[in-house]
């Protein structure tokens, strides 16, 4: 059960087209074990992913395939012929998007770029999906928020199931679980070995944005990206001019909390370098 059934019941009771979901019905414990299997649905490969379900406004007009109720394509590569293609690829990923504050702030700023939130908690994912739906209805005249969606995923294991090599231009890692215990450090979202996977799905020149209010974790993330030959740190001046950094500081849910608590926010951004030539 995801949360007490009552909560889910209430959630459904008040659900109305175009109405914003209420956070209180979607709360879920803030930690998930990235090593356990969960009951995840994910495509066998990026080609098996049905993106048109998530970005219907960007679906290519070619009428193709049987409609699929499942938001995530079944991991069956035989079916990929039936998938409806979309005109654009996802280029921005918010890993661990939580309730989606950053997603909904970024979406109107880059309406032609597909933005995807990835979140491991079921209820929280549902909230973001419902909110995206509601915002699309509310902004039907302007067509805003068509470019934002969210899926439930464990990106530490399944990032390459969703994105092909060099697909992403921006990855956001905002206020990740700090995993204080040394024993738990392997569960952190940033590690030298995992950074190779981020590098794989990013195009050269793309950026990884990280923000946290935990200094220890900030140092950890900065050190581990710096130690990875595929990344270089972006200088302070460039950060100032980057709209995404400002948005990340002020619009993420956690960012707002830290603000209220007058805590410190640590930002560090890394750029994906070209792969070195073979030796």
């Amino acid at each position: 059960m995801a949360g007490p059934p009552k909560k889910r019941q209430k959630r459904d009771d008040i659900k109305q087209e175009g109405q914003m979901p209420q956070k209180k019905f979607y709360r879920q414990r803030a930690h998930a074990n990235p090593f356990s299997d969960h009951d995840l649905k994910y495509p066998a490969s990026p080609a098996a992913m049905d993106w048109s379900q998530h970005y219907p406004a960007f679906a290519a007009t070619v009428p193709a395939g049987v409609p699929n109720d499942d938001p995530i394509a079944t991991p069956d590569h035989d079916k990929q012929n039936h998938l409806q293609p979309i005109s654009k690829q996802v280029q921005v990923a918010d890993i661990g998007c939580g309730f989606g504050g950053l997603l909904f702030a970024l979406a109107p700023k880059m309406p032609e770029t597909l933005i995807l939130g990835l979140e491991i908690r079921t209820s929280v994912t549902e909230f973001v999906q419902e909110k995206a739906k509601a915002l699309r209805v509310q902004h039907a005249s302007t067509g805003l928020y068509q470019n934002v969606s969210c899926i439930r995923a464990n990106t530490m294991k399944f990032l390459p199931n969703f994105f092909v090599k060099g697909q992403l231009s921006k990855i956001f890692l905002c206020f990740p679980d700090p995993h204080f215990k040394a024993r738990k450090h392997k569960a952190r979202i940033v590690s030298t070995t995992l950074n190779s996977e981020y590098a794989f799905v990013m195009k050269p020149g793309g950026k990884v944005y990280t923000i946290t209010d935990v200094e220890d974790l900030h140092v950890w993330m900065a050190e581990h990206f710096a130690a990875h030959p595929s990344f270089e740190r972006v200088g302070e001046e460039e950060l100032e001019g980057d709209e995404c950094v400002g948005t990340m500081r002020t619009e993420t849910e956690e960012g707002k909390k830290v603000e209220r608590n007058s805590g410190t926010k640590y930002v560090v951004v890394f750029r994906r370098l070209e792969d070195p030539p073979w030796p």
């Binding site: 969960h38 009951d39 490969s45 294991k157 030298t192 070995t193 935990v214 007058s262």
Partner: protein, 471 residues
């Protein structure tokens, strides 16, 4: 030999490639000897590397038919795959936790490794060098969930904070890592523009096969071979072709052109297994109906591939070709097919030959012309090791058919392994099963509980489902 198992290794230097699980262990209750769980030989056949289930990597020199232990190094996690690179000086070693390391075959301070801590320097990029003094990981201004607050409070109370993770005391390098459970590692090379390029291929329980560059650029991922629907347990490269065979929790093998990460075809095993007439009229799938053999829960039709090997096979005259051998966990037989059939396009039927065995095979090794199979024969007097010669006669009706004949000559050399009596140590059948048959356990239990359940399980007990409101 200390562990009393060395006599089970073939005395000649034709020790197999990898993975020769020890068949019987001599356990005294007090001193529990380690079991060999992986075995590899350097390409020049000068050294053997064994992994024991006490997490040690042990290097032996193979000289004059004698094994001499040169070093033992304790890895942070139990290794699950090991290989000596073609240059004969580096070991690559993958562990279940997902990390792949490289180690020098012969450590510089081989003899002192265990006694002199702090001598070797840690080259792993991830290794924490330990914090000089205690410093809490966060301040009171940090926004916390309840759990994190507890963790932090615990950290504060622990006055003498010391870095618990001791760095490995020998030279090693972390090459790459999966968050998923790693199951197999293979090292491949291919020539591009006249230069040889090395690659590390890694497989995991979450259906991935990753292709990374070999050292020193192992941080670069070249691609993924994706398509498996269940865990991948074994990788096997076909010599002379850019083909990779992978198998795991499915009823078919996958054939990949690994440099381009494209799936060339699949090879159905289950159908072949049912339709195959086994010489001697024993039904080939009897393994699954035999008493005591557990059918994987809820999936009677799902096989678990426990071994893939390429071995030499005689064709007409002196010509040789390579055949693929496939072991299905607990099935007393081996599937055999000529590898030159693999590039055929999907749809064309591939013929499989079944080598019927008395017991489930545990490992396969080969010499220039003989194939040695170790069997899970648990009682005295039964052959634990068999040798075969394979012959692929062309021009017959069933062109795929591979003839397997017992190599009596070679079996004489292996006699000591078959006749040596192993004192009954009271190791239960269950314990042996656990040691030898772990592949089927990799299968995920899907579809139980409703969709919400997972997301919330913390490893150490999932108390307090909703204990942390987020604002």
């Amino acid at each position: 030999m200390r562990r009393g198992d060395a006599t089970e290794l073939p005395r000649d230097d034709q020790v197999g490639d990898e993975e020769r699980p020890k068949k019987k262990q001599k356990t005294a209750p007090q001193v529990k000897p380690a079991n060999i769980i992986k075995l590899a030989v350097s390409p020049n056949q000068q050294h053997a590397v064994a992994v024991t289930d006490d997490k040690h990597v042990r290097v032996f020199s193979l000289f004059d038919g004698n094994l001499v232990e040169l070093s033992q190094r304790c890895m942070p996690k139990r290794p699950c795959a090991i290989q000596v690179l073609p240059e004969n000086t580096t070991i690559i070693c993958g562990d279940k936790f997902g990390d792949v390391y490289s180690l020098p075959l012969l450590p510089e301070t081989a003899t002192e490794v265990d006694t002199e801590p702090g001598a070797a320097k840690d080259t792993a990029p991830e290794a924490d060098t330990g914090k000089p003094a205690f410093k809490p990981s966060a301040t009171n201004l940090t926004v916390h969930t309840q759990r994190n607050r507890k963790a932090l409070e615990a950290q504060m109370q622990q006055k003498a904070f010391s870095a618990k993770k001791e760095a490995l005391q020998f030279e090693h390098k972390l090459l790459l890592g999966h968050v998923s459970m790693l199951t197999d590692v293979a090292y491949a090379t291919r020539k591009v523009d006249g230069r040889e390029r090395g690659y590390i291929l890694t497989a995991d329980r979450d259906e991935h096969i990753r292709i990374s560059r070999g050292p020193p650029q192992s941080h670069v991922i070249e691609g993924y071979c994706l398509g498996h629907k269940e865990f991948v347990s074994k990788l096997c490269l076909v010599p002379g072709m850019n083909l990779l065979i992978s198998g795991g929790g499915e009823n078919e093998l996958y054939v990949w052109e690994w440099p381009s990460c494209t799936l060339k075809r699949t090879i159905p095993l289950y159908d072949a297994m049912l339709s195959m007439q086994v010489p001697g009229s024993k039904e080939s799938y009897r393994a699954y109906s035999k008493d005591g053999v557990q059918i994987p829960s809820g999936s009677g039709k799902n096989l678990a591939i426990s071994g893939l090997w390429t071995v030499p096979c005689q064709v007409a005259g002196d010509k040789k070709e390579t055949v693929l051998m496939v072991a299905v966990e607990r099935m007393p037989g081996l599937y055999i097919m000529p590898t030159n059939w693999l590039p055929l396009t999907s749809g064309e039927e591939l013929g499989l030959t079944l080598l019927d065995l008395e017991y489930p095979p545990l490992d396969v090794a080969c010499t220039a012309d003989s194939v040695i199979v170790s069997l899970d024969a648990r009682e005295e007097g039964q052959a634990r090791v068999r040798a075969y010669q394979l012959r692929h006669a062309e021009g017959q009706k069933q062109v795929w058919r591979v003839e397997c004949t017992r190599d009596e000559e070679f079996e004489k050399k292996l006699q000591c392994a078959n006749t040596r009596s192993v004192a009954d140590t009271g190791v239960g059948a269950k314990a042996l099963d656990d040691l030898l048959y772990g592949v089927a356990n990799l299968r995920k239990r899907r579809g139980w509980g409703d969709s919400g359940k997972a997301g919330d399980d913390e490893l150490e007990g999932g108390a307090g489902m909703e204990d942390a409101p987020e604002d």
